[in-house]
Symmetry: C2
């Protein structure tokens, strides 16, 4: 008889401690059905991409996007919508860049190229100099000033195609774009040409930020298409030498006032404890910022809409945040953190979606092992909607210091195979986004927030 | 001391019974790296799509594809390449179809439409009749002859967008296309118009097979775009009645000789025991048959190439099979089974890839519980390449009776979200396929075959 009582007692503890899986699965299905049937993420993305377009920080389009997403958040049912002013860099590309390489016989080959974000221009006359290829920072160091001074350095560092996780390949090869120009300047290079950071080999140049140092001179920097990079490299392998000519018209103007856009549903029980979900509103100027990161913005707005439409009354205050200036400054994320700390806000949880609007795979979590384990319990509840993992990992550039305000951080991880086909290029347009894939991301984000809001962390 | 011996003995048993995970993970990485770096699947798909194009059974293009894939299999390193003759249906679309709906005020609205595969044509004069919408077979039965006779039936059965598994939605709504025309004919309808089976709402009509019965007359049948279907349905909801006019020029011609294409690597230890991997070579005539099923063909060829390139010497004979006529007859699959049974061939395992060249998710298995459990052990070895499940489920239309020859059956399951955007439509073109996604499918297929070949079933 005793054993029977123990069994019943054990079973009760189990029931009390475990999430109520059945009710939660019903609620999550309700959320998912609403998003798949009535969702506005795809329509909102259409508006951001086709009615506005590229939204580089400081541009007129960025301001239009601030106004548009504030409206979308109101329409989604946010109780309060407000702007967080912040100063942002104002880099402009100017007139379309030109450039070519020229072999000893005088033949010119025009390049598909674009200036790197935040880079200085060449001036109207352009820059011509011998071209020298480097395939690693070590190689640049070996060449040193003797091999580089007065030349244009061609960083040819392809993304490693054997990595399933394309972001790992981007992290490794991306150094060429982010730090390459500053490092080449250290050895006296006059300009830099980087192979576009792209998974595929095609004609699109991919821009993205480069970071100068105060120590060395700022030299002009461009990206060339992967096709161009492959071809130049093959010619260099045949001992054909090139000079290169680059002409770019970009410039950094004085900072301008811009905004994060915030939409809130006030918490019913813990109104001063915050759950943040966001993406970044600014985008590079070559495409429409569809996957990067219109997707994350409209998914975050959709979280608000789906919570309201499903009749949920969240315990915590839920904030959808459109961060400004992720691409070339991070000022919006900095401002959000600054205000959170200044206001002594208690932050519980934050998700960023900034890896594209692709089919969901799961979430990466920055938190203690026990918190990660707690969140991992929810994997099975999300598995019907594409989530196959919740595991330790990074979050997103706009929220990754929000742990200072107490938040457990999460990064939405969609399938990564196509992201770097379009990332920072003219190919990042609305047509590259699948409606179902975009919506399913919002389903998983909303469901995870529902669970965290209900059970805490 | 005794306990120590038991422990050692237990550990040895473990080692002997478990797959040698470390070596296998090294071998699978070698296979994966080779496919991602040196793979030919994408180039071969380009050839099938852009140098040949649509490959409907009985067409000149289908014959070109037979010859091209035979060559590709030889280039991939198959020991033996041969053709399996089989007679196939020869349906032709004829001149482009036209059609419109017309409201009582005489206004005509042209439709985006295409004849359904295997359907009869209307004749040059076309067919005009009042339009009646049905949204389920039950509704058709309720209307009966009184509601349908002499009319054109419009099956408006959208794919359910709330299903994560789009193939489930296709299975449910697909009845309208496959059986709808025969069922409408039973009640005296004069023609049928089906809403395209598509996940998205756009202007592409999606064809696909319809199946007549011998009992009732064969009536012309077309698919209209989902945009057309949504619009007509909205007008009908406003009590606006339509007549419809359809003019199609399709016809079923006498059967013609065609072929399955088979490439083999002869088994080193069990040459008379077969592992089959395949896709279908025929495709609908509106697009290029890129995802359906050029992808499955070139992935199967890639399995052969990767095995040879990785220096593997398989124990069983590995066969890559390009099945002919999956779309509108299934004669190639039937012939392959017929020859397997007639030759008393021992079939161990078969995989079909016919759900598109999208990011891999896993495999579904038709086998006993213990065999499924055995295969499930391999999930972790494949998880670095996208596989998150190996579970009980279907296989593929060309192999699904190969269990009669002893085979455990598997279906490759890529991400299903975009497949029905392009399926059987003009949108199913090379550009809709991601090189990395296509290659990763081949990685998982080759790796699973490597494991099954090594450890048996």
């Amino acid at each position: 008889m005793m054993r029977k009582y123990i069994f019943v007692f054990g079973a009760l503890i189990g029931v009390l401690n475990l999430p109520a899986q059945v009710n939660d699965s019903v609620m999550i299905k309700k959320i998912a059905d609403d998003i798949m049937l009535n969702g506005k993420a795809y329509d909102n993305l259409y508006y951001l991409c086709k009615k506005i377009g590229a939204r580089l920080s400081g541009s007129a389009n960025a301001q239009k996007a601030v106004e548009a997403t504030a409206r979308m958040l109101k329409e989604a049912g946010a109780d309060t919508v407000y702007l967080q002013p912040c100063m942002v860099p104002h880099w402009i590309r100017g007139a379309k860049e030109t450039g070519y390489v020229q072999s000893a016989n005088g033949k010119k080959y025009n390049l598909k190229l674009c200036a790197l974000g935040n880079s200085v221009g060449t001036g109207a006359q352009g820059i011509a100099a011998p071209l020298v290829q480097v395939q690693s920072f070590d190689e640049l160091d070996r060449l040193g000033a003797a091999g580089v001074k007065g030349k244009i350095v061609f960083f040819n560092m392809p993304m490693n195609p054997t990595y399933f996780e394309t972001f790992r390949a981007y992290g490794e090869s991306g150094r060429s774009r982010v730090f390459g120009p500053a490092k080449a300047a250290q050895y006296g290079a006059v300009a830099v040409m980087v192979r576009s950071l792209a998974s595929n080999v095609d004609d699109y140049p991919h821009t993205g930020v480069t970071v100068y140092t105060d120590t060395f001179s700022k030299i002009p920097a461009v990206a060339i298409s992967t096709n161009n990079a492959e071809w130049i490299s093959s010619q260099l392998n045949k001992k054909i030498a090139f000079t290169a000519y680059l002409q770019t018209n970009c410039a950094m103007l004085p900072d301008v006032l811009s905004y994060n856009v915030v939409g809130e549903i006030r918490g019913s029980q813990l109104p001063h404890a915050y759950i943040t979900v966001g993406g970044h509103l600014d985008s590079w100027d070559l495409g429409e910022g569809a996957h990067d990161d219109g997707a994350g913005c409209v998914q975050s707005i959709e979280v608000i809409r789906a919570i309201k439409a499903s009749g949920l009354v969240p315990r915590h205050t839920i904030r959808a945040v459109m961060f400004m200036n992720e691409e070339n400054g991070g000022r919006g994320g900095d401002k959000y953190l600054e205000l959170a700390l200044a206001g002594k806000e208690k932050h519980v949880f934050a998700i960023e979606s900034d890896e594209g609007g692709f089919t969901p795979r799961g979430f990466t979590i920055t938190a203690s092992d026990s918190q990660v384990a707690r969140l991992q319990q929810y994997t099975s509840l999300l598995s019907n909607y594409g989530t196959s993992f919740i595991k330790k990992g990074g979050s997103g550039a706009d929220i990754n210091e929000l742990d200072k305000a107490g938040a457990v951080l999460a990064g939405f991880s969609p399938d990564p195979q196509r992201y770097f086909d379009v990332h920072h290029a003219a190919a990042d347009v609305f047509e590259a986004v699948s409606k179902r894939e975009l919506q399913l991301g919002a389903v998983n984000m909303t469901a995870l927030i529902y669970l965290v809001d209900k059970y805490g962390l």
